[in-house]
């Protein structure tokens, strides 16, 4: 049994979506951890926490379409000494139940693990009412909360397992499944709070999270082949606590940073990175890529991502745009003696 506790390979991950792996991992963890209980708000099938529910019916509770109560109950269960995994769509976890997540779970610093699905544009056909494009900026501001956005199914599995060894509230935001595989290996060093360098590079850094990590890696390949650019790609799976060191390293070594997220460009990954850059006092060409502060029409998520420039093509275009930008004030091209 590998160190991480994962019993599937990337090949299994290919066959399972992010949500399915989550359900499967949780069901496995349930064996070793009798204190795990599962909660759903009528989305057990959609969020796949139902897999856990099928295996442990006495430890799974559905609350119907009542998210606020679900989180209050989760807090109560945590107070009783259990470890609740709560699942619903990220739009509802972060907005409908916002106060309950903040006041019941975070303020009391309880061991509640929130697996929020359908983040970003991933429930594209649901339209704006079901898009979660402000969730990261909302949840990021809750003290005590850890915020993780896994890039693919395998990373989701790692995140769920990491929940168990991380005390206090954790919010894991995943897609709808069908997000492309990013990792080639099941085992890699996954640690909440530590970014993963997907690809080294020296000309510019793309910091991505969630489904956009795959696109950033693709974009880097294209830029390398076509433009002969050396693009560093960082998977910032943990938005909070953010990996400051990785950002500073990218800043000083490449001096150009782009952030990409399936989220409004206000308040999420881009803002978190910008905070680090601005406070460092060091010059850097910087650009956030995300949904440009608007509500999005319905559509397939891949199309929506393309429309708003957060897919491979969008990242390629943005990198080319930023590469033309000067951040040096030194325009003196005289050779030194």
């Amino acid at each position: 049994m590998p160190e991480s506790g994962l019993t599937w390979t990337v090949y299994d991950a290919d066959k399972m979506t992010q949500r399915e792996i989550y359900g499967a991992v949780l069901a496995d963890l349930g064996d070793k951890h009798p204190e795990i209980v599962g909660l759903s708000a009528d989305l057990a099938k959609s969020t796949k926490i139902g897999t856990f529910g099928d295996k442990f019916p006495d430890r799974f509770f559905n609350f119907g379409i009542a998210e606020q109560n679900m989180f209050a109950v989760a807090a109560g269960l945590a107070k009783a000494g259990l470890t609740p995994f709560v699942s619903t769509f990220s739009a509802f976890a972060s907005m409908r139940a916002c106060e309950f997540v903040r006041t019941d779970v975070c303020y009391q610093n309880l061991n509640v693990k929130i697996i929020a699905t359908h983040g970003g544009t991933s429930f594209g056909s649901g339209g704006a009412t079901h898009h979660a494009t402000e969730d990261l900026s909302i949840v990021r501001a809750f003290p005590n909360m850890k915020l993780v956005v896994p890039a693919d199914a395998i990373e989701t599995a790692h995140a769920v397992i990491a929940c168990m060894r991380t005390p206090g509230p954790v919010y894991v935001r995943i897609g709808r499944g069908f997000e492309p595989r990013v990792y080639e290996k099941t085992e890699y060093d996954f640690e909440i709070g530590r970014a993963v360098e997907m690809k080294p590079g020296r000309d510019i850094t793309v910091i991505a999270t969630g489904v956009t990590v795959f696109h950033a890696v693709q974009a880097a390949k294209i830029l390398e082949a076509d433009d002969k650019l050396s693009v560093r790609v960082i998977n910032m799976h943990t938005i909070k606590p953010i990996d400051r060191d990785a950002i500073m390293k990218a800043l000083t070594e490449t001096r150009r940073i782009i952030t990409v997220e399936d989220h409004n460009y206000i308040g999420g990954l881009g803002a978190a990175v910008a905070e680090v850059i601005a406070e460092s006092g060091k010059g850097c060409a910087f650009q956030r890529v995300g949904i440009p502060d608007c509500f999005i029409s319905h559509g397939y998520p891949e199309d929506l991502m393309n429309l708003y420039g957060i897919d491979t093509d969008g990242i390629v275009a943005k990198v080319r745009d930023v590469m033309g930008r000067e951040f040096e004030t030194d325009e003196d091209w005289e050779d030194e003696v």
Binding site: D203, K228, S230, M323, E328, D332, W333, D335, E336, V337
Partner: protein
């Protein structure tokens, strides 16, 4: 009429080779003393139908700089019949500039000619075949060579070498760094969208795109004198190429080109 290549070589001599005299004077105290308090202009000029090509050394109370073009009232003039001959002299070929104007210098500033010859002899250190006799001289040679090369590459671009231009115009801002481990010898070439700038020391604003790190002075000597080719040198650990191997190789090629132009 000088060819494009000759004019380019002359440009490199005037703008990359001559300035390295500053290093010699600053780092070699014996030589530095000779020019203490000296104020003089030493002109190097080659005749050409399109106009004279050259630069002059300006000593101002001991301070040294190279000024491009013709001086108003030089104390000493090294005049060459054509550009090729000027290149020849700096390549170590047996070339004699015309001596006429030299006599003026002998009269007004005795000792200047001798000291300048001393400098020119010292410049021979830059030649690939020159083997430094002391560790001090070895260090000096490496520093002078690297400074010269970095500037020469920049001048190759500014001077219009088509291959160099093609290579620099597509690149985003990148730093090509040279340094010798455990010494303060370091210089760089900054490239961006067709522009180039040679710089001294270690570039700190970002990580160099290519960093050629010489293991020590001897290793640097071996590589820079081309007694070892770069690939073998890397294999032997004499030099490390930290960064893009393709671009590191390419700049090595340009360095060889410069060596070829000056020989």
């Amino acid at each position: 009429m000088a060819t494009e290549q000759e004019l380019l070589a002359a440009r490199i001599i005037c703008r990359a080779v001559l300035p390295v005299i500053k290093v010699m004077i600053e780092d070699n105290p014996k030589l530095g003393r000779k020019f203490q308090g000296v104020t003089a202009k030493v002109q190097f000029v080659a005749e050409d139908p399109a106009g004279p090509v050259g630069a002059y050394l300006q000593f101002t109370d001991g301070a040294f700089e190279v000024v491009q073009g013709l001086a108003e009232d030089p104390d000493l003039v090294f005049r060459f019949a054509n550009v090729a001959k000027m290149i020849g002299m700096f390549a170590g070929k047996p070339v004699l500039p015309s001596l006429g104007p030299l006599l003026k210098g002998l009269v007004t500033k005795p000792g200047l000619l001798i000291n300048v010859f001393g400098v020119l002899l010292g410049m021979k250190l830059l030649m690939p075949t020159a083997k430094p006799k002391t560790p001090e001289m070895a260090r000096l040679k490496v520093k002078m060579t690297l400074y010269m090369v970095s500037t020469a590459l920049s001048q190759l671009n500014k001077g219009g070498d088509p291959d160099m231009i093609k290579w620099t115009e597509k690149q985003p801002e990148r730093i090509y760094q040279w340094s010798v481990k455990d010494t303060d010898i370091a210089c760089y070439l900054k490239i961006k969208a067709g522009q180039t700038k040679a710089g001294r020391g270690e570039y700190t604003r970002r990580k160099p795109f290519v960093h050629m790190i010489f293991r020590d002075i001897d290793a640097a000597l071996a590589v820079l004198s081309n007694s070892v080719d770069t690939v073998s040198a890397i294999g032997m650990g004499l030099v490390e190429n930290d960064g893009s191997p393709e671009y590191g190789g390419k700049i090595g090629d340009f360095m060889l080109k410069i060596a070829g132009m000056l020989s």
